[in-house]
């Protein structure tokens, strides 16, 4: 099937059809944003069976081989149709990295196991004390015969508690002058002795990220991806066109839908003062769509994204926060409730989104870091 040959509308229809046939109703528009593997396994396997699991992998490896343009439609429809997020590090991150940097043996071994769901991956980048400053990481891997012996700790490892493999950046050398050197990418079986996972509860009381501890964990040398001490280049290469998705309007779209629902239920649209505040958010969201399109067009036209795409990430994460704050204001005294609040016949998860909106402005490089990058790379400001 050459998906790229389909018209955009036909491709949307195909996705729609798939969702209708294979996605159970109770998994659509889930409240939980980071379901565990088991909670969405039926959808994961359905995608695999239908050949829709790995949108950007090449066809010969079981992927759909979508162009960036088609991939954007895939992601758009996924959100629009309310598909639940699946643990996607294997599909979205590890697969593409292995395809670019892995050996033939690695590809042959790991890729099918990602598609089958046998391997559930997580990504071990951040460490305590090295948040936005990845280059300062300290988890050490010392060569010992045909193994590396790993000691150290990762943190903010999303869904590590439902993963059985971790894709980890480890320090294999301290001698290099450039701190980015001396870092190696290791694939670590989390069932190995010495690996411990501690889930961390977040502001919403959910545990979607974890600490992962390594205590004398032995990892065979053939689990290195790329070259030893050159892991920084491997890790860097994951960015590419997917950075546009960090700036997608999805979260503020969800948030404004809730705001509208609550406003409708409370008659707030009849209050010109609310309408005026709402209008600002609504237009921010509308204009975010226009700005997103400006970058999407680059991809559709076959171009590559520059550093300037970060502007979307900053705007969408701040807008998400503003809208959720407005919703709490509208909630009045009900903003005291932790759980969802009444809105006509249904409920609105005002607090859930307000608390959730704290995260995206930090994760994936805080907005301050993004602005530093824009200042240097786009505005060329002196340091």
């Amino acid at each position: 099937m050459d998906w790229n040959a389909l018209s955009d509308d036909a491709f949307r229809d195909a996705f729609h059809d798939l969702v209708e046939r294979r996605l159970p109703a109770d998994l659509r528009f889930m409240r939980k944003q980071r379901p565990l593997f088991d909670e969405v396994a039926v959808w994961y396997h359905a995608l695999a069976e239908e050949g829709w699991l790995a949108p950007v992998w090449p066809v010969e490896h079981g992927g759909m081989g979508l162009s960036p343009a088609k991939h954007m439609i895939y992601v758009e429809e996924w959100g629009r149709l309310g598909c639940p997020r699946i643990p996607d590090h294997g599909i979205g991150l590890i697969g593409p990295l292995l395809l670019e940097h892995g050996t033939e043996e690695q590809k042959a071994y790991y890729l099918p196991r990602i598609l089958s769901g046998e391997h559930v991956w997580c990504q071990g980048y951040s460490e305590p004390g090295a948040g936005s400053d990845l280059a300062s990481l300290r988890t050490a891997a010392l060569r010992d015969g045909e193994d590396f012996v790993v000691n150290g700790q990762k943190i903010w490892t999303t869904l590590a508690h439902c993963a059985n493999w971790i894709f980890a950046l480890v320090r294999t050398s301290r001698d290099e002058k450039v701190r980015q050197r001396g870092i190696t990418v290791l694939l670590i079986d989390m069932t190995s002795p010495g690996v411990t996972v501690r889930p961390i509860a977040n502001l919403r009381g959910e545990t979607d990220f974890c600490e992962v501890f390594f205590d004398e964990v032995r990892v065979p040398v053939e689990n290195v991806v790329g070259e030893v001490d050159q892991g920084w280049n491997v890790a860097k290469s994951v960015l590419g066109h997917e950075r546009i998705f960090l700036g997608a309007p999805t979260r503020p779209e969800i948030a404004i839908e809730r705001l509208e629902k609550l406003a409708q239920a409370r008659g707030a649209f009849d209050d010109p003062a609310f309408r005026s505040r709402y209008a600002r958010h609504r237009l921010d969201l509308y204009d975010l769509g226009s700005a997103f399109e400006r970058f999407a067009k680059v991809l559709r036209d076959g171009g590559e994204l520059g550093a300037d795409v970060s502007v979307l990430k900053i705007f969408t994460t701040e807008l998400y926060q503003r809208i959720t704050e407005e919703t709490l204001t509208l909630a009045g005294e009900d903003a005291r409730f932790f759980d969802d609040i009444e809105a006509g016949n249904g409920h609105v998860d005002a607090m859930n989104l307000f608390l959730d909106s704290r995260a995206p402005a930090i994760f994936g490089g805080s907005n301050e870091i993004q602005k530093n990058i824009l200042a240097k790379a786009v505005l060329k400001l002196p340091s």
């Binding site: 004390g129 400053d133 003062a273 005291r336 932790f338 759980d339 402005a361 930090i362 805080s366 301050e368």
Partner: protein, 373 residues
């Protein structure tokens, strides 16, 4: 760092602040919040008892009712210090409201019983004034000298801990303040978790029969019963928010001084520094607004007092929320974890800010008052 600058001729304010610090070391606020949350509770009985013993539950209760008979300045000093320490028992919505409601009631045995229990901590009072939908739905029906209450009140703090509810209800003649003991037939309590960890109650009265003595105050409308108590409670809430916000600034300064990125403490980056200055400014303004409310309340001009209180609650609420939002952000990923205390500050600020009027409503009320003149 930011703190309300209050006149303190006899040292009471300073003493109160010291006492809160001492108590908070025995009952650390964050731990108490987490325990309440885990247990689905709405208070910490030992902590409240200790607060009563310290004399804090009756600061504004007149001396002839057994209260401390102190002024709003002392209440503000206390509430601010509790806010700083995140000691989140409902001091404003239980102690302050109850003190004012009882203080304006005529003498009666029931009033005196409640007042003395409030002061010594043997009773836990839960004022209940907000109706389930729109206006008051609780009403009285005289039945042989007594009353029958029906309806529901929501957003009741201490609904689980209470020994007695102080219910403001509409009556055929206007409104009354009713004393309603827990466990009485026809009274039911349900709760939902509050964002700050304490359960929030809804209490329902189903043909709930009360003796004649349960009516402890009457007025022409619920508002005439509530206006003064709410005014004082709002000042107390503003002070608690100002204290909480000020402390959140300090916590964030400490954190950013210690947190190293790119080889430097992040507090040394100019963007972070200016953000911290903005947060500190918000806290300073909140504290100043609270002091202004205290000073203006003391002058005796009712309209000016109301405006000052509206401004203080709005300013302190906005400041606390906005400080805590940025504080969480400046804590980075750590700020998004439940185990980091800063998130509790944000949640508590959200709850207090939403209690007795959000800033937008208070500001509009201020302007309406001012322009009506």
């Amino acid at each position: 760092m930011p703190q309300a600058v209050l006149d303190d001729p006899d040292g009471t304010v300073a003493m109160l602040r010291d006492s809160v610090a001492t108590l908070a070391s025995r009952f650390p606020g964050p731990a108490s919040v987490r325990a309440k949350r885990a247990g689905g509770r709405d208070g910490d009985a030992a902590l409240w008892q200790a607060m009563a013993e310290a004399g804090w539950t009756g600061i504004l209760l007149p001396e002839d009712l057994g209260g401390a008979g102190l002024t709003l300045a002392e209440q503000v000093a206390l509430s601010e210090a509790l806010g700083r320490a995140l000691v989140s028992e409902p001091i404003a919505t239980s102690a302050v409201l109850s003190s004012c409601l009882l203080g304006q009631a005529a003498q009666s045995a029931e009033r005196d019983r409640l007042a003395s229990g409030l002061v010594d901590g043997n009773l836990v009072l839960a004022p209940a004034w907000m109706d389930m939908h729109g206006r008051a739905t609780v009403a009285r029906t005289a039945t042989g000298g007594g009353f029958t209450l029906s309806g529901a009140k929501r957003h009741v703090d201490f609904a689980l801990s209470a020994t007695d509810f102080l219910v403001v209800a509409e009556t055929p003649d206007g409104a009354g303040l009713f004393s309603v003991p827990v466990g009485i037939a026809g009274l039911s309590v349900e709760t939902a978790p509050g964002v700050d960890g304490a359960a929030i109650g809804t209490i329902r009265f189903d043909q709930c029969a009360l003796p004649a003595e349960s009516l402890i105050a009457e007025a022409s409308s619920p508002n005439s019963l509530l206006d003064e108590p709410v005014l004082h409670a709002r000042v107390a809430l503003a002070a608690e928010l100002a204290g909480l916000g000020s402390r959140a600034v300090e916590i964030t300064i400490d954190y950013t001084r210690g947190r190293v990125q790119f080889g430097k403490p992040i507090a040394s980056f100019q963007v972070i520094q200016h953000r911290l200055v903005d947060m500190w400014t918000d806290a300073e303004f909140a504290c100043a607004a609270v002091v202004n409310a205290v000073d203006t309340m003391a002058l005796g001009d009712a309209r000016a007092a109301q405006m000052a209180v509206l401004a203080a609650k709005a300013r302190a609420g906005d400041a606390a929320i906005s400080i805590c939002r940025r504080a969480v952000h400046l804590h980075g990923a750590m700020g998004f974890t439940d185990e980091c205390d800063i998130g509790l500050y944000l949640k508590r600020a959200t709850s207090l800010n939403a209690t007795l009027g959000q800033p937008e409503d208070l500001r509009l009320e201020f302007v309406n008052l001012e322009r009506a003149a």
